[in-house]
Symmetry: C2
Subunit: 366 residues, 2 copies
Amino acid sequence: MHPYGDQAMSETYANGAGRRRASSADVAALAGVSRATVSRCFTDGASIKPETRDRILAAARDLGYEPNLLARMLNKQESNIIAVLTSDFANPFQPALMEALTGRMREEGLTPLLLKGQSATESADALIQLALSYRVAAIVVTVLNASHRMIARCFEADVPLIFLNRVAEDTPAISVCVNSRSGAHRIAEVLVEGGTTRIGMISGKAGSWTNSMRRGGFRQRLDELGYDVLTSIQADFSYEGGRVAALEMMDAYPRLNAIYACNDAMAFGAMDAIRYDRGRRVPDDIAVIGFDDVPVAAWGAYRLTTIHQPVAQLVEQTIHILKRPDRGLALSEQAFLHDGHFVQRLTTSPVKLGDGDTDERDPPPA
Amino acid sequence: MHPYGDQAMSETYANGAGRRRASSADVAALAGVSRATVSRCFTDGASIKPETRDRILAAARDLGYEPNLLARMLNKQESNIIAVLTSDFANPFQPALMEALTGRMREEGLTPLLLKGQSATESADALIQLALSYRVAAIVVTVLNASHRMIARCFEADVPLIFLNRVAEDTPAISVCVNSRSGAHRIAEVLVEGGTTRIGMISGKAGSWTNSMRRGGFRQRLDELGYDVLTSIQADFSYEGGRVAALEMMDAYPRLNAIYACNDAMAFGAMDAIRYDRGRRVPDDIAVIGFDDVPVAAWGAYRLTTIHQPVAQLVEQTIHILKRPDRGLALSEQAFLHDGHFVQRLTTSPVKLGDGDTDERDPPPA
DNA sequence: ACACGGCATGAACACCTTTGCAAACCTTTT
DNA sequence: AAAAGGTTTGCAAAGGTGTTCATGCCGTGT
């Protein structure tokens, strides 16, 4: 209609209620150059005359312009957004992991897009689908499960999938994880060496890799040492689940003298059940041992003996993979297992320490 | 070089390592329609013949096509991505808030882009700048501070800014928050009514709105009741900070019989200092009261008397604002204050309950 | 037989950036 | 003075989508 259609249109939009953000075209017009030059002004390494650069920068400042990252990602076919899939913040290990992960990501210029599932058992497929639609650079999964079909789709789309804190077997996906099996072995040894062999085990959610390792590894080593668990209850990795399970165990097996909880949160529940619900003592009556070494485990009220997960190492490994030029797509190694070390505190009888273990029986100086 | 430069290039890319995802053009070609029709197929309410729709859907499935959300956002000038700015996962209140917030967002089809600052005192300006570059639909800030200049820039760009769990005064930004002042008033009343009036106060980070309210409100009401704090130490909202402060107080003021910590984490530290570092009793020797009612406050080891923050309500209010057609830009009301209620547990002498308060002196049934 | 309304579709433009290529400019050398 | 060489810049296309407008088709009512 209007001979200068374009011109007129942008004028109209600029005045309307939802006034448009300044684009590179606006800056270009004001500075008297082309859009391409404006673009070059914001990409370093591009050749541009210092004088015009200053002029453009001034114009950009006047208009409050800054590059539209969406358009840039679309054009360059690459993004610095990483989908982070998780489901559960209640387990205190998750916040600790998230803190480290998102902190390091920011330092490396990566931005996490947080996709939260409802429950740990839920499949992450829908969330992965969503992540692919956002054309993220990579996907990091912490607690959820994914179908083989969906994992395959990610790799078809050249989007690497990293399982953090869990191993995905028989898939092209990468896993970064603590060696839960060897940690569970150590726990079995500690309880036996400490002379507490009438053991109740509180395991976590069935179907989780973490749980089957922590559970299976413990049983295996205990068996090798010539013992067996007295009782075993499956809970859900939560404080309340651990508490209820411990109550049940104590009532059914009065001679129980040790509880191994497959994570710290359940161990805290068990300790509170022992001390406050039943009025018994830790470790004199019943020893307790956990797994994770979340920050609360060092608190005065618990001082929990446990296996420390090297969160910083796990995160560093993950970041390292993400920063590779291929973001880990061409990686030959699939699983990166890090060793957790044993931390001795006050909820078990003292045992001899191995290499890399730490002793915190004396509280840190005030 | 090559006479068919462009053609050859895209062929190369298509075959090489990073093969291109299917676009709507590919689907259109396969189904024998135009791109516009493919687009209509994925927007409901558009008129399209059922037969061709099926044909297009089949083609899309064969090619593994799904709409590119980046391109869509760029085109429609609207996004469902919300920037969530935070700094600290160590304080156990943050995970609880985050869990609720991100969970509800997902239910509403909003996707949080997580931008984490290094420390609570750091300015969020750089993160807000980044969020604006991503053209997010709105920005939710939890613990960080922002300059007036940057807040103004957000509103110039029509991006609403919501402060969650903190009030930003004298700005166009919206605040959703618990009424910390009235909560602090209640705490003062509880301690006085309980007969514990030789009080030490452990406050949080200076310069935070939350802290000045929780601190100022407490002092004010205490003054009105005819008392004053015995001592006051400024800490940093952390467990360890609370523990060290409590030790210092106990050593300097042997007759101290109550500690008010401006959040639960510091209260836990104080309790552990009292019980495990100094071997005294809570509440018999020293009463302790916190603020937040994080999940751990209900655990057997602490059973902390505190003020409950209605997390679900706060989140619901935030979601409600985000879902408004104007995302809250045209809101006349700036601050939404919700009342927290008093939760009585075992760390203070029992007092008469007011309206909406809850009593958890008896532990929940096993 | 013709005009008309409703529906389905395609062409073209817009969103905002980056980039390959070619043209224009400036400086220096022969 | 002109050619050579390097730097700076603009043009146009690409990246994938949504949307307006015009066109074509079909059926209906007169």
